[in-house]
């Protein structure tokens, strides 16, 4: 019997707001702090520490970010949504309940396009709801400590429909979602630090069966690679269980990357009754139509749209467009550069940015947006080198251009000034070059004879010598033309 897998993902994304969701405490440093660090519990107040009598006040920015996530995934945004209390006991949950959303989440019924080796497909998004993050338990020998720095950091939980059929699709979905939240600037997306966390619901069923199999939930997997491996393992495990005549047990499992297996964390019998009810301390969240359309209008261009635009308007190849949209900063840098060029030579600009610029920036361990390189630099370089702008005779050779770029990266100086200062302009003027060409013809009689006897390959050598003679300034195509003329 053939089996097929059914996968649904629940993603928790920490929203990159300056303050927490229900109090003014800083939300940014609240990641991965160990107890050894002196600032444990530093970013807390009566509200996020759950002191008796303290009350939550909603961070409007968090609502805006949740709405942005909803709009970017084509969700319906509720005009009025409701916070609910999710009641359970755990030491990292200071109030004994988590403020979350239950039956009236802020966004519902969206979709996301994914690309896999089998093509492009749409995955449904069931809902996106807002909630607060919990603190962090730190277990030491014989005792545990609680760090509440993370308690109250805003989260959105994005729940997909159980529509993915393979680990590859699951990862594609996750990558698409990850890219969106980062492009929107609403989440830092660092999986290691827990900014972006994923739980996977996996079940298998005989191929074509309309009935879903019993599912297991794999909790808190913290990299794309592990998600793929965990789901792959879990699918294989469940198929084996079913084939052996046994039944898959509904349970929560964890993934052990060291052994590449999933294992039981807790069974369904231990499942909690969260006793949800509407949070009486918070009025319903209002997203009036005018605010919604304002958010919609200011929604940044999404990476998929951007790639399409770059391909359509600038003639980039799909892989070039993908490379340039690897980050929002890179894409913005490219956009600005092409704007400065008036839309000309976009391909050349893309090549410079994804090639030489990224190499310099990465080698120095910098970010493009904070480096000394600006779109003005690249636009200037392209003007000096690209054939479609400077005609057939670029003003600076590619070697010279790289040299100028390295200099600009180090000093921030304008390209034109660097080119002048270092004398990187190519010599294209035939008159000035004639003497150099004649010198070479005189200096390399053997090679000249070879060329004249039909060995055309030797021409390259002679052009190289002219270049050398000119200190790299000679325009090689002009040199070649001149040599050909003289030797014919």
């Amino acid at each position: 019997m053939e089996f097929e897998a059914v996968i649904g993902l629940e993603v928790h994304a920490q929203l990159a707001t300056a303050s927490k969701i229900f109090c003014p405490c800083r939300a940014k440093p609240a990641t991965g702090l160990s107890v050894g660090e002196s600032d444990a519990n530093l970013y807390t107040c009566p509200v996020c520490a759950g002191l008796p009598g303290a009350l939550p006040v909603l961070n409007r920015k968090a609502v805006k970010y949740a709405v942005m996530a909803g709009l970017a995934t084509e969700c319906t945004v509720r005009t009025e949504s409701v916070f609910a209390r999710k009641n359970y006991f755990y030491p990292d949950l200071p109030k004994g309940y988590q403020i979350s959303q239950f039956d009236r989440p802020i966004c519902e019924k969206g979709r996301l396009l994914i690309n896999t080796s089998t093509g492009c497909r749409e995955i449904g998004i069931t809902r996106i709801h807002m909630e607060e993050d919990a603190g962090k338990n730190v277990h030491l020998s014989g005792y545990s400590l609680v760090n509440l720095n993370r308690a109250g950091v805003p989260l959105i939980e994005i729940v997909s429909e159980p529509e993915m059929k393979s680990a590859e699709e699951a990862v594609a979905y996750l990558r698409a979602l990850h890219e969106i939240v980062i492009f929107l600037g609403i989440c830092d997306g660092n999986m290691q630090e827990g900014n972006f966390r994923c739980d996977a619901n996996v079940s298998v069923r005989p191929h074509g069966s309309p009935v879903l199999g019993t599912r297991t939930e794999i909790k808190n997997i913290n990299s794309f690679r592990f998600i793929e491996k965990a789901i792959d393992f879990e699918i294989r495990r469940q198929i084996e269980v079913v084939k052996s005549g046994a039944k898959v047990v509904q349970e929560t499992r964890s993934y052990d990357p060291a052994r590449n297996v999933t294992q039981t964390l807790r069974s369904k019998e231990e499942a909690q009754d969260y006793r949800y009810f509407p949070e009486p301390d918070l009025p319903p969240i209002q997203v009036p139509a005018d605010w919604l359309s304002e958010i919609q209008q200011h929604l940044p261009e999404l990476p998929a749209q951007m790639r399409q635009r770059f391909q359509k308007n600038y003639g980039l190849k799909p892989q070039e467009a993908a490379a340039i949209t690897a980050s929002r900063a890179l894409a913005a840098f490219f956009d600005r550069t092409v704007q400065l060029l008036g839309g000309r030579a976009a391909k050349a600009a893309a090549n410079w940015i994804t090639g030489e610029v990224l190499r310099l920036v990465n080698e120095a361990g910098q970010q493009i947006e904070s480096s000394r390189i600006t779109p003005q630099h690249i636009a200037a370089l392209v003007e000096l080198t690209a054939a479609e702008i400077s005609g057939t005779e670029p003003l600076v050779s590619s070697t010279g251009a790289k040299q100028a770029l390295a200099e600009a990266f180090a000093t921030g100086e304008a390209i034109q000034e660097i080119v002048e200062r270092l004398g990187l302009k190519q010599v294209s003027d035939s008159g000035a070059m004639e003497s150099a060409v004649e010198k070479i013809i005189a200096g390399f009689p053997d090679q000249v004879a070879e060329y004249r006897s039909g060995k055309e390959k030797v021409l390259g050598f002679l052009v190289g010598q002219v270049m050398k003679q000119s200190g790299g300034k000679a325009n090689p195509s002009v040199a070649q033309e001149l040599l050909k003329k003289k030797l014919s």
């Binding site: 008796p52 009598g53 009350l55 009641n87 200071p94 004994g96 009754d273 009810f277 009486p280 301390d281």
Partner: protein, 481 residues
């Protein structure tokens, strides 16, 4: 004789008394009092505040007239409102040693208005109860009949005001916890419109019903305290942005429509109470008020609705007292190193009534029952709100007894929680529907126990309630003299 705020300020102005001397008198009375009205007395803090007030008074020569309506006035604060640096127990063993690092907005406002905080007042544990017998720090005794209860849950507050152990007090009212003890002790208590006074720093019992409320010996002082407390607070999301409704004209009894619901003057209410209230209403009628018979169809469901919602919210609100941050840690549990044992040891410290309500609330919210209990109660709450909205379109105020009986004997009802719950029948609608209600002393029964009359008004109509309350208070005063 209990002095009013105005009288105290006059004595300050005339130089007859200074704040520190006044505070010292109050502290001495508290120390000598057998009522057990206070859980924590902050004598040193109060005296320091008083000495600063002395200096202000000496310098200015008289009471500052602006921004300090409570200048030098000794207040008591129910022990479920946080005062930074002063132990707050909620009358529970769980919070026996808890010192909050911040102050409630209501407390901040009272102190900013010049009040001097004498201490934290006894109450039913986590405000759950109507007799003040559910305190881990012992019951409060009735101020004039020590074998009886003072009412609850703000029993310490009402008893302290009546026994002059503070001039005014801050209570909290979830289902009658300000109005019931005010009525039992013969003082004035107001449950304001929901959202009128910030709940920030008030330990939650049932968040959608809780309101801070003023208690004082007379209507004027209640209004002064109310005006200090009322107003928007950005730290409480349920705090109202709108102001108290300003009446078009000064209060006049002529033509005032007073609704008299048939459901609230029935057999179960002591005949002495019915008689006393009818007499007061007739008095007001003789002055020009119109008595309008009313029907409130869903009022018989109010107690059941109230208790389902209150216990549900309470079961969640009290879950933070899990022992991780609160409560004495029993060594055995710590050594057992097991989280469950840890939680059990701390939560065993809750009193019987609190445990009962946590269990009821957990049940009412649990999967499979939440529709029949919590959700159904939420629906009935809306019907009750509709009843009252309809009623307030026909009348200006609604009159009722505060409770079906006057103060009962200590221990008399301890074994019958249901009987205790039914005692809240007239007070819970104001909490369920969010409108304001005031409890006013209205004579005494044959045993000399105070009888309370309740007036309820539409949302934000506190000013109307105070006007009517002053009218009645004045009439009764004239009648006596």
């Amino acid at each position: 004789m209990i002095q009013s705020i105005r009288e105290i300020h006059d004595s300050f102005d005339r130089g007859e008394k200074k704040p520190s001397a006044l505070v010292a008198e109050y502290l001495a009375r508290i120390q000598a009092s057998p009522l057990n009205a206070y859980i924590t007395v902050c004598a040193d803090r109060a005296l320091r505040q008083a000495i600063r007030a002395d200096e202000v008074l000496l310098k200015a020569g008289k009471v500052p007239r602006s921004g300090q309506p409570l200048f030098g006035i000794p207040v008591g604060i129910k022990d479920n409102l946080a005062l930074s640096g002063v132990r707050m127990t909620c009358a529970s063993k769980v919070l026996e040693n808890y010192i909050p690092p911040y102050s409630a907005t209501a407390v901040e406002r009272v102190e900013a208005a010049g009040a001097i905080t004498l201490g934290k007042l006894n109450m039913d544990e986590f405000a759950m109860g109507g007799s003040n017998e559910n305190s881990a720090f012992g019951p409060v005794l009735h101020p004039t009949h020590p074998d009886r209860v003072p009412g609850g849950s703000s029993g310490g507050a009402a008893a302290a005001v009546r026994a002059n152990l503070c001039v005014v007090a801050l209570g909290s009212d979830t289902g009658g916890s300000v109005r019931l003890p005010a009525s039992y002790c013969g003082v004035v208590g107001l449950k304001p419109t929901y959202g009128r006074i910030s709940r920030y720093g008030l330990v939650a019992f049932a968040s959608s019903l809780d309101q801070v409320g003023p208690i004082a010996a007379n209507v004027e002082d209640t209004e002064v305290l109310f005006n200090v407390l009322a107003g928007h607070d950005s730290r409480d999301s349920t705090s109202l942005l709108s102001e108290v409704t300003a009446p078009a004209a000064p209060f006049s009894i002529a033509g005032l429509r007073i609704g008299v619901p048939a459901e609230y003057f029935v057999e179960g209410v002591a005949s002495e109470i019915r008689t006393a209230i009818h007499f007061k209403l007739q008095l007001l009628e003789s002055q020009g008020a119109r008595l309008v018979p009313l029907h409130l169809a869903h009022s018989r469901y109010a107690v059941a609705t109230y208790y389902l919602l209150a216990v549900s919210e309470a079961s969640s609100n009290l879950s933070r007292f899990d022992g991780v941050r609160y409560g004495v840690r029993p060594q055995a549990a710590v050594e057992a190193g097991e989280l469950g044992a840890f939680y059990r040891a701390t939560r065993a410290r809750f009193g019987a009534e609190v445990k009962r309500r946590i269990i009821l609330g957990t049940f009412a919210l649990s999967s499979g029952y939440v529709d029949a209990y919590y959700h159904r109660a939420s629906q009935v709450r809306k019907l009750i709100q509709r009843d009252f909205a309809q009623a307030f379109s026909e009348v200006d105020v609604i009159a009722s007894p505060v409770a079906p009986a006057t103060a009962y004997k200590l221990g008399e009802r301890s074994d019958d929680p249901l009987q205790m719950y039914l005692n809240d029948i007239f007070t819970v609608p104001a909490n369920l529907a969010g409108f304001p209600a005031i409890s006013l002393p209205s004579g005494e029964d044959a045993a000399g126990l105070p009888i309370g009359l309740q007036f309820m008004a539409a949302h934000s109509n506190e000013t109307l309630l105070f006007g009517l309350a002053r009218q009645l208070e004045q009439s009764l005063k004239e009648e006596r003299s």
